[in-house]
Amino acid sequence: MIEFDQDPPRRQFETLIPLINVVFLLLIFFLLAGTMSPPDPVAVSLPQGELNDRERDLPATLVMEADGFVWLGDRVMDAKISGHMVEKYLKEQGTKRVAIKADQDAPAEALLLLMEGLREAGVEQVTILTERGR
């Protein structure tokens, strides 16, 4: 009744082609649109802000948790003593600029304490990372 083509199974490949096209497009999209960054040791929700100083290539990033603890790489330390801990690291890196990723609920006191420590450690520029406000 129904007449098949000579070799019906191979037809299936043709239906795959739009799929492959879409997958390729997605792949290229993610390649171009995404930025790869090393994962942070802890998840923080950044404070929202409006200004952007567009600081680029900040070599050292400190992460401050909501409870005020400071992470440098996979080391965790108290905000009060972090200046000394960071000093050695910065000397190795040969930089005087530091970025801070602070949680929006982190105590402002701890953040200021950390920045005081950084200044004593010889840091010349501190940058706080924020998220674009909604």
Partner: protein, 135 residues
């Protein structure tokens, strides 16, 4: 149009390619982050609040421990902070904004205060932490 069976033979080799592309796709989907971060340069805080100037050319923003903001002692909403600060500074060019963070205040408030101070056109911005603000 493209009915030649010889052409179709070549299609069979697509399967491993699709596998690899899928793997790459999943890899990039999982590793990319789309969060847009901004950077805000700040001055490092004064060692203690006593070292900040306190004369008439200073506008103080207080970050209270309960999360509210005060501008020279008067409560102000966070959304209205920039406008109030501009009003307080007016046309003067030699004003300093001092941000005092009380114990219990949060980073979000500090960031909002620093941004407002920067946008208000103050000559300098100083920050310090204090145990308790005494009005």
């Amino acid at each position: 149009m493209f009915e030649e069976p010889v052409r179709r033979r070549g299609m069979a080799s697509l399967t491993p390619l699709i596998d690899v592309v899928f793997l790459l796709l999943i890899f990039f989907m999982l590793t990319t982050s789309f969060m847009q971060t901004q950077s805000l340069s700040v001055v490092t805080p004064a060692p203690s609040a006593d070292e900040l100037p306190t004369d008439a050319r200073v506008v103080e923003i207080w970050l209270m421990g309960d999360g509210t903001l005060r501008l020279d002692g008067k409560p102000v909403e966070r959304t209205a902070l920039t406008a109030s600060l501009r009003e307080a500074i007016g046309e003067r060019k030699d004003m300093t904004v001092t941000i005092l963070a009380e114990k219990g205040s949060r980073t979000q408030a500090l960031v909002a205060a620093v941004e407002a101070a920067r946008q208000s056109g103050a000559k300098a911005v100083g920050t310090a932490r204090v145990e308790k603000i005494k009005p």
